[in-house]
Structures are given as structure tokens and as C-alpha cells.
Subunit: 295 residues, 2 copies
């Protein structure tokens, strides 16, 4: 599929990379970058992330076939509702928010009934974030070989004889194909499943890394090496964004933290006992899981 | 200084890299790799980490001017005592063990009085380890721009009129110069200070990363991305080696773990309260410390 017009709302690391990937692969004739600050938009345009820019959301989406929100999770629901008022009837809206249940639930409750037309929102989450932010870190290959989770709502997964329902299911397929066309592997799961899994694989590591960085005495920073640097790298992420993400997945994250604390306590107990067999068993269990993933 | 003969005991990632760096910089005429298994030694030689190899420790050190132990912490004290019996009177012995207090204390008590000659042991620790092991991962530039901690014993830092004492202090300077000549920045501190600092900057991260990897359900591994990978990377390290390291720094590590747990509990409390101000403050404190170090 080659799109006539794709609109990207929020042209930072993710949004900028979507634009670069679309251009490199010639998948869109026009790519409109939409944002709040002219400066970032101008930078994104000069970096060739987008072909056009505007700070006016209504104006930016009015002829878009596909609209991708790459904005903080807190803003997404309101922005989708606003976009739906102004975009073409056939447009598909998707997002890149790190948590999905609150967004998809809110939009299937509050958006769908108010929609004047066939506009569809399908939740998504490319697992391609980084502690780096801004279009200057965008890369055309950011999504190649990465996982993108697409999280249809319940009504988007059940086909019936209704014509609308067919369109809904096609919109899910379209969003999946969009990410595949940028080189990603798409995994479909429910928003609730996504949030439970990502609590463990993304949001928990962020708290663990941040708690570790925060526990390091500044006087010892000279003596940090690769191990500390790797294991705390994500703590350099934007603190406001991560606060939103953590709070939007509070329940799952607290559960993941409880599991982590219990794992940590096993190491502490073995160390207190000075038990080499028990301690090496724990390290070996961790290594087995880590080795299963690769570098 | 160009050495006639350097002996490297244990030719893995660190030992192999010492050899490659010495060869690249033409700092030694002969580099003898000493190890337990002929296979690893042959690999190290074919990779040009060393010029000669032997499985016989006594034979390998008998004409060495500088002997560097790159073996697991548990073996170092016994090996140094054995080496001291066979090496030349002017030889300097140093090591790369990740903990220093137990080794330096044991050797200043048990080794020095039994030494037949002027052989000196000076403790050291290049902060250049990795989850990777074996000479196949060795790199000639591994120590460039890295920190190496040199940890003289108390008697090695106090000069007096005694001729022996001057030699002792010169041996510390020689070990520092050796690492500088490989491109590293040398930091001097007492073994106790080293172990307290490294508990926080190296051994704690290893437990934190291992507890995190171990707490991850295997069914979720497909949904891990850069954050999880970075923050658990060191958990792929050798479990036996890390058991030895952790137990040899038990007291400092338990203290560092207590500090970490208290940092973690602050995040959990803020998340439970759902307090965005408190949570973003904690993330910001972590980010400030992480940003001070760089990538």
C-alpha cells in the first residue's frame, strides 16, 4: 500500500523515524508532521523526517489517510477524539503509546459512539523506544526487525455480518500491514495482555534501572563501567513521560514489582547465608533467561 | 618501559586483551600465556594474544619480569603464593580480581613473610569486564580510556628509610605505569575503599540485573526490547565467577543492596499512592545521576 497522505502527530524519536522509514521505502506521497513547537517541526523537516509541517492539528489531518500519534500517553485519547472530528471519513488512526488498555478502553467507549463517520482507531506500540528523544535521533531503520504490538479492542476482533464490522477488522489489518511495511514484526494481543506483559518487560526495567542509578553515590560515579552503564541506561529517559507510563499501568506494574522484589530477596538471602550453591543457582537461572534473548 | 617477558595467567577476555594490547603497543618482547587447558591457550596463541603458551605455572613465570593474574578471584591468593616461589627476584606480580580486600590482606599477611626475595604483589582491577568471556572476545583497545584501580596495601603506601620499602613503592608505581601504557586511567585507592565503591557500581548492578532477568516470565521474552536487554545484559555473565565475586564482597554488597532496596521502595510507594509529582521527582533524580555518566 502506498499512502497519499500520512500525518504524524509528535515528530520525536518515534514519529521522526516513522517519517524517515516511509520516505526511504517510498510508502507515502506526503508526510505531514504535526506538533506544538515550530522549532522541533522545522528540525524534523530539515532532517527529512516529513515533507510538510503544521502546528494546527485540524489542518494537518484533514486530508490524511493514515494518522499516527507519537505523543505522550496522557495526550493520546483527547488528541484522537479531536482528530476524528477533522480527518477524512476513511482515515485510520493509530498510536504508539507505551500502555494500551486505558487508551483503547477510553476510545472504544467515548470515541466510537461520537464518530461522525467510519474513522477507526487501532492501538499500537512499536517496541523501539530509547532513552534518546527528539527527531535528531530518528532513524529510517528503527523498526526493522523490531516487534510492534497491535492491540485491537474486543469489538475490533469479532467479525459479524455488519458491514461496519468488516471495516473495523480491515482497519486492524491495515495497521498491522503498515508496521510490517516498515520492516517490523507484528504481534497482535489484547490491550490488557499487552499492558501485563509490558509491565514486566519494559516498565519494570525502567523502575529497576532508575532505583539503581538513584542509589549510586555520586562520589562513586568515576568507578562505574560497562555493567553499571548498561543496567542504568534507560534511567536517562524523560522523567515526565515515564511517570505517565508508570501511572497508566499502575496495577500491572505493582504486580511486576512484587515479583521482582521476591526475586531480589532470594539473592539477598543467599548472599546473607554465604551459600555459594544457592547463589550460583540463582545467577544461573538469570543467565539462562538472559541468554535466551541475545544481545 | 619495554618488558622482556610478561606472563599472563588466565588468557580469557581480560588476559587475552592485555596480551593483544602489549603486542599492538610493542611493550613486551615475549608474552607467555599460562592456563589450565591447552585448547584455550592454543586459541589465545592463534589469535596472537600471546607469543608462547604453557600449562605449567612454575615454568611459565620463571623468567617473567611482570606477571598478571587474570583468573577467578578464588584462585588468586594461592596462585600468587605459588608464583612467588618460582619467578625471578625482581618480578612484579599483579592481578585483575574484581574484589581486592580479601586478596591484598591475605597476601600481605601470608605471602610477604614467606617471600624468598623481593617479589612484589600489587593488587589491581581494570574496570573493563563484560558478560563475554574467552580470548575470542579479547580486544587490543579494551583498556583505552578505561579506569584501572590499583590498590596498594598499607605497607605499600608508606615510605621509610628502608631500602625494601622504596622497592615496594616503586612496584606500585610500576603497576600503575603498566596500565597507563595500555591506555587506561589509573586510580589509586585502598583495597577496602575499592571494595566498598565497587559493591555499589559493579556487584550491586549484577544482582539487580540478575534478579530482573530471573523475574521475567519466559512467555514474555518476545516482548522485550532495548530497555530490558540493556538492563539485564550483565546477567549473562558467568554464574560461578559472579558467585565468587559476590561472596568475596559480602558485607559491602549487602550494604549496597540495602541502599538499593530503600531506593526501590520509594518508587513503589510513589506508584502505590499514584503520586505523579513524587514519582517524577524520583525519576528525575535517577536521570540526573545517569546523565552525569554518559553513554
Amino acid at each position: 500500500v502506498i499512502y497519499n497522505t500520512v500525518a504524524i502527530v509528535g515528530v520525536g524519536l518515534i514519529g521522526g523515524s516513522v517519517g524517515l522509514a516511509l520516505r526511504k521505502r517510498r510508502l507515502a506521497k506526503k508526510i505531514i508532521g504535526i506538533g506544538r513547537t515550530s522549532e522541533t517541526l522545522a528540525k524534523a523537516k530539515s532532517l527529512k523526517c516529513v515533507t510538510d509541517i503544521t502546528t494546527d492539528l485540524a489542518e494537518g489531518v484533514k486530508s490524511a489517510d493514515l494518522i499516527i500519534l507519537c505523543t505522550p500517553v496522557e495526550l493520546i485519547v483527547d488528541q484522537v477524539c479531536e482528530i476524528a472530528k477533522h480527518c477524512p471519513a476513511h482515515a485510520i488512526i493509530t498510536d504508539c503509546g507505551s500502555t494500551k488498555n486505558a487508551i483503547v478502553t477510553a476510545l472504544s467507549k467515548s470515541l466510537l459512539p461520537t464518530l461522525k463517520n467510519n474513522v477507526q482507531f487501532v492501538g499500537g506500540h512499536p517496541l523501539a523506544g530509547s532513552e534518546k528523544t527528539g527527531p535528531e535521533h530518528a532513524r529510517a531503520d528503527l523498526f526493522e526487525g523490531r516487534i510492534v504490538v497491535v492491540t485491537p479492542s474486543k469489538s475490533q476482533t469479532i467479525a459479524n455480518d455488519d458491514k461496519n464490522s468488516q471495516e473495523v477488522i480491515e482497519s486492524v489489518r491495515d495497521v498491522a500491514e503498515f508496521w510490517s511495511s516498515l520492516g517490523a514484526s507484528v504481534v497482535m494481543m489484547s490491550p490488557a495482555e499487552h499492558d501485563a506483559a509490558l509491565a514486566s518487560t519494559s516498565h519494570l526495567p525502567h523502575i529497576v534501572a532508575s532505583a539503581l542509578a538513584r542509589a549510586t553515590d555520586k562520589s562513586n560515579l568515576l568507578l562505574t563501567a560497562g555493567g553499571w552503564r548498561d543496567s542504568t541506561r534507560i534511567a536517562a529517559g524523560d522523567s515526565q513521560l515515564w511517570t505517565q507510563i508508570a501511572l497508566s499501568n499502575q496495577k500491572n506494574l505493582l504486580k511486576a514489582l512484587a515479583g521482582y522484589e521476591s526475586s531480589l530477596k532470594k539473592f539477598i538471602a543467599a548472599l546473607k547465608k554465604g551459600d555459594p550453591k544457592q547463589l550460583s543457582q540463582l545467577f544461573a537461572e538469570a543467565k539462562e533467561i538472559r541468554d535466551a534473548v541475545g544481545s
